[in-house]
């Protein structure tokens, strides 16, 4: 599985949405499924999938799929 696929899967499982909805533009609070409660589930899914530990600043900054990729890149996850 590529890292992009892993990330998509984390979003699908945490937010209970279809893979087709997971685009770079998908944003926090942009859809009803991505609210403050599911956000913490998402963070935990992402941490598990990529075996990283996100800091509080990352949790706040992770406001879109594109941002998630940017933050994970800082942790050495490659999306290219």
């Amino acid at each position: 599985m590529t890292n992009t696929e892993k990330l998509t899967q984390a979003f699908c499982e945490a937010l209970m949405i279809d893979a087709s909805a997971v685009t770079n533009e998908l944003s926090y609070q942009g859809i009803a499924e991505w609210d403050s409660i599911s956000h913490m589930v998402l963070i935990s899914e992402i941490e598990g999938a990529f075996e990283v530990s996100l800091e509080t600043d990352d949790v706040i900054d992770l406001s879109s799929v594109a941002k998630a990729k940017e933050i994970l890149s800082k942790h050495g996850v490659d999306f290219n």
Binding site: Q29, S36, I37, I43, S53, E55, T56, D57, V59
Partner: protein, 356 residues
Amino acid sequence: MTDLENIFRLAPFELSRTEKQELMLNGLNQLHQFHRNNSEEYSDFSRLLFKDNSEFTRLEQVPFLPVSAFKNHYLKSVSDENVFKVLTSSGTTGQAVSRIVLDKPTSQLQTKALNSIITGVIGSQRLPMLIVDSKVVFANRSSFSARGAGIMGLSIFGKDHTYILDENFELDLTKLTEFLTKYNGQKILIFGFTFMVWEFLFKQIEKGQLDLSQAILIHSGGWKKLENMAVNNEVFKSEFYDKHKLSEIYNFYGMVEQVGSVFIENSQGFLHCPNFSDVIIRNPIDFSVQPHGEPGLIQVQSLLPWSYPGHSLLTEDLGVVMGEDDAENGWKGKYFKILGRSKKAELRGCSDTFKK
């Protein structure tokens, strides 16, 4: 608002009197103008009740709304389509509920302000987190209570969030001990409302001698219910330390009516004002400013409320400023103590919202 981004980069208690007053004055002048132009009610209010200068030279000149204004009026300075969330206060049955209108930018500022304060105390690493509450507070996902909002707000500082009360609000001791065993020797975060931490955690584990020496406890919600049981901050802290070796305890005071006003306890046990908010104590009879050391009504000022005119509010709480820029732990800014609710105020408080 760009100023705020810079302020959030500073340590939360870094600005001393002169710097802070300049910053607050500049920000509050902008907020006053903005709300005067965007909220008819605020404009009328400040024109009628205050000498409406276009530019204030002292913080105490900035008009203040009584917090009860949010019960009687739907105050906002953004258009309907930009309203992102309406927070409601902890009104009990029969009482009017305050409505606080947030747009996305103001809501994000609130998260950043809380981040600045809490990470200043616990560090930037998220800690395994025990929540002294039950998941049933989120039963209605689209609109949760002030208590639910408080838990969600603090959740970003934790991981492996573990709710230790079951659906009947009974302590799940197995869950608690499993958690403590799993993270033995590591720093953990405990969060809950003051009354619930005492009633549903402390009193239930009193005899058990649980070791909480690695924990940081953050709690909020007020002392009203506990004072009836003769438990104040000193008793609360010394009991947790004596029985469970828990020494890092931070009480904080905040209010739904003013985003940004989050005051956390300093090493002397007083509530400390962060860089972006401040308190002024006023004489309850004539509303003149009280000198430090003299009790009165607490007025709060904050640089965050852009979506609604809540930047300068007179609360119904009594308090006293204990000092400024000279806290033992080196924090700058004013620190104060809450003395209770003013007699005329309606009885309310977060702990009142607890219903089994």
